[in-house]
């Protein structure tokens, strides 16, 4: 085809084909279009960073501000820790989703996404931030995870049965393995990409594909386990075989939302003209829609099986979160998730314009990111003000649950996310905005969704 199309020169379709044959229009790759000036976005970064640190500070201060003694103080500490956990999981999820994005795109040798991939690489390589965010668990994990308590292991039959897996030492060991795998994959893949920027060596793309091939298996295993360890064990009596996938679906959705926001931010500062177009935004929007639907699919599958089987060990978790026919304080949150996380955005996001317009896709991205925080909030927070403690053989009671929503829920959830976004903006201006010499860059530069 290239010989035939070389006849074309003066028409639109001619340019299109010529770009395929000869690489990217050098004007698009000029330095000003593919690099942000050093120190770019200092204001935004400072704002997000300060807001993030302030949020974290306030969260840490909450137990002291709330005051009280004995049980009340313990509850306040638990509340602050749980709120922070929501933010930690959201931030970690964004990084994990970004890493999955890079892995998938290398694995399928995707062309269209090359101009987006660098931002995903940047996000994933912020993984050490995830390690820092995880530190409070090391110090205050006992407030979050009931099973940290050695006394409980003596009395709780289920915990005794699970104690080989559910003990702090094994938990920390697993966390280390998770972060080692994530960091290794993130740095290795970004390293290939950055080296290729300088050398233009095409074989690096193949190496990245190869790494992604085994990497995605390791990633899937580790991430599913992490979802179980960090979220599911908050209620260690409960089990769901769907939970790892549920966690991954949420991570992927929030990562794509953040990627869309970052790309629109770059584009609105006048960079990547012709390299990130409404065609790329359209495809990113499609992925966002797809993972939103996937989240709903997995969430419903999990809920539906629990509802149908109606086994107390499983239903307790859902009943506590307002998903039963008896309502409690969490019922509104349950319905906010059903409607806000799927039913309402679905018919809107399916419209082509919503995905092509930079303004609209940013609005959807922010909305879905907020909904993802609500999702993690719904998973984590009921543990602070639970129903009567539900032992497997007890009758399930849905007594006066309260949401107990205060400002710390907002500061805790937003702090880590703000800091992550600030760090992502900091990374943006330090490296080229796209993989400059990726062999599939021409494909991305001429990417089009036809009618």
């Amino acid at each position: 085809m290239s010989q035939l199309t070389s006849h074309m020169s003066d028409s639109q379709s001619g340019d299109h084909a010529a770009a395929h044959a000869h690489g990217v229009d050098p004007a698009l790759l000029r330095h000003e279009n593919t690099h942000l000036p050093a120190g770019w976005g200092k204001g935004l970064m400072g704002l997000l960073g300060v807001a993030g640190v302030a949020c974290l500070g306030l969260t840490a201060a909450y137990p002291f501000v709330a005051g009280g003694e004995g049980e009340k103080a313990a509850k306040a500490a638990k509340h602050a820790m749980a709120s922070y956990h929501v933010g930690f999981i959201t931030a970690l999820g964004i990084m994990l989703g970004a890493l999955a994005f890079v892995l998938i795109m290398h694995l399928v040798k995707a062309g269209w996404s090359v101009t987006i991939r660098r931002q995903a690489e940047n996000l994933a390589s912020l993984m050490p931030l995830g390690v820092i965010f995880a530190l409070p668990i090391v110090f205050f994990g006992g407030k979050l995870f009931k099973w940290f308590d050695p006394a409980l292991a003596k009395t709780d039959t289920l915990l005794q049965a699970k104690s080989a897996f559910l003990n702090p030492t094994a938990f920390y060991a697993r966390l280390v393995v998770y972060f080692v795998v994530w960091c290794y994959l993130a740095f290795r893949l970004r390293g290939y990409s950055l080296t290729q920027d300088k050398t233009g060596e095409k074989s690096l793309s193949n190496k990245a594909s190869w790494t992604s091939a085994w990497g995605i298996l390791a990633f899937a295993l580790v991430t599913a386990f992490a979802g179980v360890d960090l979220l599911k064990t908050l209620d260690f009596h409960w089990f769901s075989t769907m939970f790892g996938v549920y966690f991954f679906a949420g991570c992927m959705l929030s990562a794509i939302a953040v990627l869309a926001l970052l790309m629109v931010l770059i584009r609105s500062s006048g960079k990547l003209e012709g390299l990130f177009t409404q065609e790329h935004s359209h495809d990113l929007g499609k992925l966002m829609l797809a993972f939103m639907v996937f989240w709903a699919y997995v969430a419903f599958s999990q809920y539906f099986l629990i509802w149908y089987a109606n086994i107390p060990e499983e239903t307790a978790w859902v009943l506590q979160r307002g998903g039963g026919s008896l309502t409690n304080a969490w019922t509104p949150v349950f319905w906010i998730l059903c409607i806000g996380h799927f039913l309402a955005p679905f018919p809107l996001l399916i419209i082509r314009k919503s995905k092509q317009s930079f303004t609209l896709i940013s609005l959807f991205a922010v909305w879905l990111l907020v909904m993802q925080i609500v999702d993690f909030f719904w998973i984590v927070r009921p543990m602070v003000y639970p129903d009567k403690y539900i032992a497997p053989n007890d009758v399930v009671t849905i007594s006066e649950t309260t949401l107990g929503l205060t400002w710390v829920d907002f500061t805790g959830a937003l702090g880590p996310v703000f800091i992550l976004l600030a760090a992502a903006i900091w990374k943006m201006s330090r490296v080229p905005l796209i993989p400059l010499k990726d062999p599939r860059l021409p494909e991305a530069a001429t990417h089009k969704n036809y009618v």
């Binding site: 199309t5 006849h7 028409s11 539906f304 109606n310 399916i350 036809y450 009618v451």
Partner: protein, 198 residues
């Protein structure tokens, strides 16, 4: 439509349109752009493989099919939901597995499947209707030259049904656009139609 012109050859055959062959996909693209710019609406391009950028060269507009599919999909899901609710809750309510007969949870999988099947079928059937399918024959298939589009030929055909159609004008335009051959295509002789045209 009232004063729609009907073109016939001197021997009285109905004219389907004019087709032109082009040397390669590039020529084909350029010619398609010219046909597009001349404002023709009832025409098509035929090639052995998809040609990049042809949608633009032809000035193709987005189809309305998605709107039809969306409406059908939503109606399908609604019908599936209501039908189940009617059967389970009103027509023949029985308690099974201790679940209330109006539980919404149990209706979701079938509602989803109804939505999917209505979407899929309306997309397929809608595509058939919009494209005028199925049809058993096509005037272009009577031309040996045309049969080559499944091998190595690149062809554009403008239908006589197009409002701007004028056999001589179309021929001149094709020749200017670099056609290697231009042919008149006639409908299969159908005596009744020809008579009616008189």
């Amino acid at each position: 439509m009232a004063n729609k012109k009907i073109y016939k050859t001197e021997s009285g055959e109905l004219v389907y349109g004019v087709m032109a062959e082009f040397a390669n996909p590039a020529e084909l693209s350029h010619a398609a752009e010219k046909v597009r710019d001349a404002g023709y609406t009832k025409w098509d391009v035929y090639s052995p493989f998809p040609v990049h950028g042809m949608e633009e060269a032809m000035g193709m507009k987005q189809t309305n099919l998605p709107i039809l599919v969306a409406i059908m999909g939503l109606s399908g899901a609604t019908i599936g939901f209501l039908f189940q609710l009617f059967v389970r809750h009103m027509a023949y309510p029985i308690v099974h597995q201790g679940k209330p007969s109006d539980a919404w949870q149990v209706l979701i999988p079938v509602t989803f499947e109804f939505g999917v099947i209505f979407t899929a079928f309306s997309a397929l059937l809608g595509m058939f209707v919009i494209n005028g399918l199925p049809r058993w024959n096509h005037p272009l298939l009577r031309k040996d030259r045309f049969l080559g589009v499944s091998d190595d030929r690149f062809i554009i055909a403008i239908e006589a049904a197009d409002e701007k159609f004028d056999a001589q004008g179309v021929k001149t335009m094709f020749e200017k656009a670099g056609a290697t051959a231009v042919e008149l295509v006639t409908e299969e002789a159908d005596k009744r139609k020809v008579k009616a045209a008189h």
